[in-house]
Symmetry: C2
Subunit: 755 residues, 2 copies
């Protein structure tokens, strides 16, 4: 074989030159004729088809060109295998990370361009690792519950193997049998054993970490055709007993129910709707191993029917994930999540392309691929690129949708309501494993891709070494996970479930109602009875879009308790206050709002005492005007606050909040509206509709059975919204008299059109 390669070398050089001039390389050179490799992601047939189409499909050619440029630069620089030392963001971490990303690409280029330069590069790098790896002790950084060897966590070592398996598959036939034997003996097998057998607390879990671990072992198993390793990947390590109360360094349980392996990781965290319980940020991260391995299994073990598994949950998960993004494709913030992550991430390019090819060629996915302006350089990417070229694209219609949580879909849900330019994300899920926040019935609001009422996200600067090695900061626990950091109710300045993972992870909120069938009124309603024992929270979030005003949000948070408590409901508006309709007194210097449970990170800047009239806050954000209108009870306290207290290292963002505090009450109803009503242009200096349209919002009725709210517009139009609090049956007939006016309707709610 070596002879053949050498023989074809001059031809190849000419070929590459021609390709650079935008022609296709010659086809049929020998490595296509070998059987068996590449076969996990790229396939023989795929490589042949790709070569047939080179220079013909813009999006594929652009990606290929960019990839070639990137890899060529790295080849020029030479291979660097520093002795592992740093956390993420540090030099050795980032270098080894770059290595596996580039090696995978170089492997692909070797196949597509049939250029030994790339084969040699991958080969040299793998042999470098084969020499280095056996010399490595555990990584010197101690923070992880499962330290890797090349990286500080087994997680990153698994990333390495997922990518390197593909690189190896691509150059498999470029190597001699002896060379392959050396690589497998000195590198791949011990590597796979280390992240599995030697770290069962990492491998035998249901968690995105283990998904990477399982897939890493599974991918190399498929390349090496090692069935025993594959069984380990699919079904976990056998005969390993881990203590039930063992936790990882993020505070999450290692394994409480004994479920292990790749299929368990498909069973457990995904709901039947494809929602991933850790939230979209981690789904994005896990989607790469899930889908790349599914693609590999489909190619090598089609009899496993992985894409049909659990009613095609992998296919559904990608649609769910796209629906969990705003108008710009940025993922909604649920649980630990860094802002700015979007479906432009490389893992989503893979996900979209794979699901297009293996999931029935949904033409709406092509519009996402067009936005990504990139495809995977493999069979899946080719199918997407060809379909786009052939004009098959349809626009992806993001819907108002409820995505259930829990393996069986019975552990609450996320309700996403889209109305006009508004996207409301209402969370009534299970806890979300170790990345969960204590934020039952919280929400966030987006306006044409801009976050207006924010979820803070995580307290971490991923891969920025300056900030705690790029890892979770202590403020993630003391601030970002706490209830007061979210747009939901806090009782007695204590977080839900007392901020305890043991309790939080046992419970979930209960869906009560989701309705998106009428454009003029959409709603999601849910209850939470476990966050504060003895207290029930029932929140109903509505969007209304009719002649009273442009689309706006109506928020009804109903609290009933056995005891009298202090209740705080924060509003994390982003932007600058333009005007309030109430007088507030600003403190000469801010005070720290509290001493624990996240309150220690909030400054109180100003406060007011409500008179029982509505309070209104009008603010400007991203050159748009918003107004919050809330009903109050006389004596309620309004606190204008800001994040940033007890933040010795400037780890937090100094953003504002308004907290509506009820000082001592058993039961309470918080009712408010949020309007997006106007715009400002700093170029034309025109302010259009700077004031909201809603004059008054008022609770006109509240009992165990019904809550009714009146909304009065400045145009003197009036609406009554009534919800049945105990009976959510669709056909149940209701009758209620409010202030002498009688209302009759069927189903759990009504919005009147009085005028």
């Amino acid at each position: 074989m070596r002879f053949v390669i050498k023989h074809s070398f001059k031809i190849l050089l000419v070929t590459i030159f021609i390709w650079s001039c935008k022609n296709k390389p010659e086809q049929g050179s020998e490595n296509l004729q070998q059987s068996g490799h590449p076969s996990i992601i790229l396939t023989h047939e795929g490589v042949k088809a790709i070569r047939d189409h080179l220079g013909e499909i813009p999006i594929f050619d652009t990606t290929l060109k960019a990839t070639k440029t990137q890899v060529d630069i790295e080849i020029e620089k030479g291979i660097d295998l520093p002795v592992p030392k740093d956390y993420s963001g540090g030099y050795t971490h980032e270098t080894h990370k770059k290595n596996f990303l580039i090696a995978q690409k170089a492997g692909v280029l070797y196949q597509i361009l049939d250029d030994e330069k790339y084969g040699n590069y991958v080969k040299e790098m793998l042999f470098g690792y084969a020499k280095l790896y056996p010399t490595l002790p555990k990584h010197p950084q101690p923070r992880s519950y499962a330290r890797g060897k090349i990286f500080w966590q087994c997680l990153n070592d698994s990333n390495w193997l997922v990518y390197m398996s593909q690189a190896y598959d691509c150059i498999y036939n470029f190597l001699t049998e002896d060379e392959r034997h050396t690589l497998e003996k000195d590198l791949f097998k011990p590597f796979a054993d280390y992240i599995s057998k030697e770290n069962p607390q990492f491998f035998n879990r249901v968690h995105n970490h283990s998904t990477w671990g399982n897939v890493a072992v599974g991918m190399i198993a498929l390349v090496m055709e090692d069935d025993s390793l594959l069984q380990r990947a699919l079904y976990g390590l056998k005969d390993v007993k881990l203590a039930k109360d063992m936790k990882d360094n993020d505070g999450g349980y290692i394994n409480q129910n004994g479920k292990v392996g790749f299929f368990a990781n498909l069973d457990e965290p995904f709901s039947p709707d494809g929602y991933y319980t850790e939230g979209p940020y981690y789904q994005r991260y896990a989607s790469y191993p899930f889908l790349i391995f599914a693609q590999a299994l489909q190619n090598k073990r089609p009899e496993l029917k992985v894409f049909q598994y659990k009613d095609s949950v992998l296919l559904k998960s990608v649609s769910a994930l796209i629906n969990l993004s705003d108008a710009d494709g940025d993922f909604f913030l649920l649980n630990d999540a860094q802002k700015g992550m979007s479906y432009h991430a490389r893992s989503l390019v893979s996900a979209v392309d794979i699901v297009y090819q293996f999931g029935g060629e949904n033409p709406e996915l092509l519009s996402i691929a067009e936005e990504q302006n990139m495809v995977t350089l493999d069979d899946a990417g080719l199918s997407v690129a060809l379909a786009i070229k052939n004009g098959k694209t349809k626009s992806f219609k993001k819907a108002s949708i409820e995505l259930s949580d829990g393996p069986k879909g019975d552990q609450g849900a996320v309700g996403i309501i889209r109305s006009g330019n508004l996207e409301l994300v209402y969370k009534y899920t299970a806890h979300g494993l170790s990345h969960g926040h204590y934020d039952k019935l919280s929400y966030s609001l987006f306006d044409e891709g801009n976050e207006v009422i924010q979820d803070y996200g995580l307290a971490r600067f991923v891969n920025i070494e300056q900030k705690g090695g790029g890892n979770y900061l202590k403020e993630n626990k003391t601030w970002a996970k706490q209830t007061i950091a979210h747009n939901t109710l806090v009782q007695n300045e204590t977080s839900h479930f007392k901020g305890k993972y043991d309790m939080g992870s046992k419970h979930h909120s209960e869906k009560y109602l989701f309705s998106a069938s009428k454009a003029y009124v959409q709603l999601a309603s849910a209850k939470e009875t476990n966050a504060y024992p003895g207290t029930e929270l029932h929140r109903t979030m509505v969007t209304i879009k009719d002649s009273i005003s442009p689309p706006f949000v109506l928020d009804i948070m109903r609290v009933t308790s056995e005891t009298a408590n202090q209740y705080d409901l924060p509003l994390y508006y982003l932007g600058q206050i333009m005007k309030t309709n109430f007088e507030y007194s600003k403190l000469s210097t801010p005070l720290v709002l509290g001493s624990k449970n996240g309150y220690q990170h909030l400054y109180k800047e100003a406060s007011a005492v409500a008179t029982g009239e509505n309070i209104q806050l009008n603010w400007l954000s991203n050159n748009r005007f918003y107004t919050y209108t809330a009903a109050t009870t006389s004596g309620d306290e309004v606190i204008l606050g800001r994040i940033g207290a007890n933040d010795p290292e400037y780890n937090l963002r100094n953003e504002p909040t308004l907290i509506l505090r009820k000082k001592k009450a058993k039961n309470a109803v918080y009712v408010s509206t949020i309007e997006s009503h106007g715009t400002y242009s700093p170029v034309s200096e025109f302010a259009v509709n700077a004031y909201g349209n809603i004059k008054v919002v008022e609770v006109v009725y509240n009992s165990e059975d019904y809550t009714a709210v009146k909304i009065e517009g400045k145009n003197d139009k009036e609406r009554i919204f009534i919800i049945s609090n105990q009976n959510n049956a669709q056909n149940k007939a209701h009758k209620l008299s409010i202030n002498g006016v009688s209302f009759k309707w069927n189903g759990p709610y009504i919005l009147t059109h009085a005028n």
Copy 2:
């Protein structure tokens, strides 16, 4: 004539319909055959040429279509002439403002589309105003030194007349002589008299207000062919004596030197380089009346040669203004200026088109017009649109440039240095009339269109009624104008010139050096001796772009004083702290930094005492990493602060600063570097070059004659920068020995390339 119009009405209807189908209207209908009108902006020949090209030139057709859509919507809504009542941002203000903007457009549409609908609309509106205007008292809002009738200031009334004059010119021949007589007698003449004769304190000034006033009177004079009014516009009101110490409501003097009229407003505020002393934000505002009137004069009184006036200063001013914008076209912040104003403003569309047509058809202006994606619907816009269509566009090359200030160019300057993606704006100008700030030798820094070291701008939300009627807020005086709000030196917590306009407006900084001929080292250097009597400030700002690092800024602020003082040098970095190389102690709650001169608006959040080693601040802004490295003297205080104290109505932005304080010193040298060195992607989560390249910056020599700074890179490269402090002659030979090493060079500075 009326008969002819009625006769042609059916033909017109057909014509319009055809035009809607993207064909051209029939040509040669009667209003083109009238002599004399339109003639000030649109001309007979222009209208004919426009009609000839309709449907052929994309940028013109797009603008026309958008204009027609906008005007049609307003015609549909009907005319609204509310009784004047509000400040800017309020209903009556915004309605009358919309009226004159739409009327001008409707007049143009009447001419271009030859459709009576538009003529009638303008006619009806003008007669409405002719009925309303005589009934109006002074505007009820009392804040202005020159209250208008339709608006709260004569300024806005003047805006009205500048636009309405054009509308009137367009429909002049559509009206009967009687109708014209009525309009001129009841509306235009009294209107022009009110803003001039009855408000000499407004009309007889050198100020952007009076420019509008002069031009308003001049425009209607040209349409009515009233030479006496024209003389008033060009040369001011005669025989009016105003007290020399009279001030406007912004605190600016009305008129100290007795210069008046349009030409005086060209003479005084513009420097020979075309820099407008109030700064680019107000130049943008004034550029519309300056240029529209110049166009009108050129058309009607070409013998005045207005475009050649003062060595073609109007033409130069537009190039200067474009050079005063960042990579996105946003104007640099100098004096009172609202962020986000850019050359996309409609006044700049006019300016660019007019200067293209009347200023020698500079093809670089076409690239700006393409970015604007809009042209004026007149002869000038047509010439631009045709040139773009004919492929004449060249890219506008923004340069490193020094723009002198003062009528004769001898009152300091603005130095703009562009190096790589960095744009450094260094201000050593005169005061800037009533919109000036007390910020001698201040600077701001932009990186690829993002402001990194900010100038705060103004404390005002222009036209946002919620915020003080859209007018200047009191914080503009107490904060935004004060020295501590800027990136320049404050002595003893007192603003330059004690914050007194009388003193500030008498002085200007002195240019010392500007050099942009070598790409690897560019610099601007200036001195200020009047801001603090007895103290000299000499600041040299350098950009260095060579192998030591990517382009970076070197800042040398040298202070020499007869007395010992406290010195503060703030750095208004935008973004979040990633890391410092010094320990600081954060206060449990912020303290107010001082009691007056702007200090009362700053919170002290943390502080450190310098050891004499360099301090480094590494921060993240817009996903880019920056590092500030500053030499210190042992005992210097480092204050980490934030804007926002004593801000009872949330009028300020809560943005950070670092203040380097020298507690008691006669002389001091502040030396620092600012690097833009890395990027972060929240999608790939890669941090690239998160740390700066500069290890040490050090003052290695400082005497009356020379200051020398050593910069040492982490790559162990070293540079010495030496500046001659007293002799700025280009050919002077210098010799200096520093620590036993001898340096010889010619000219006022040297940057060594030691390795």
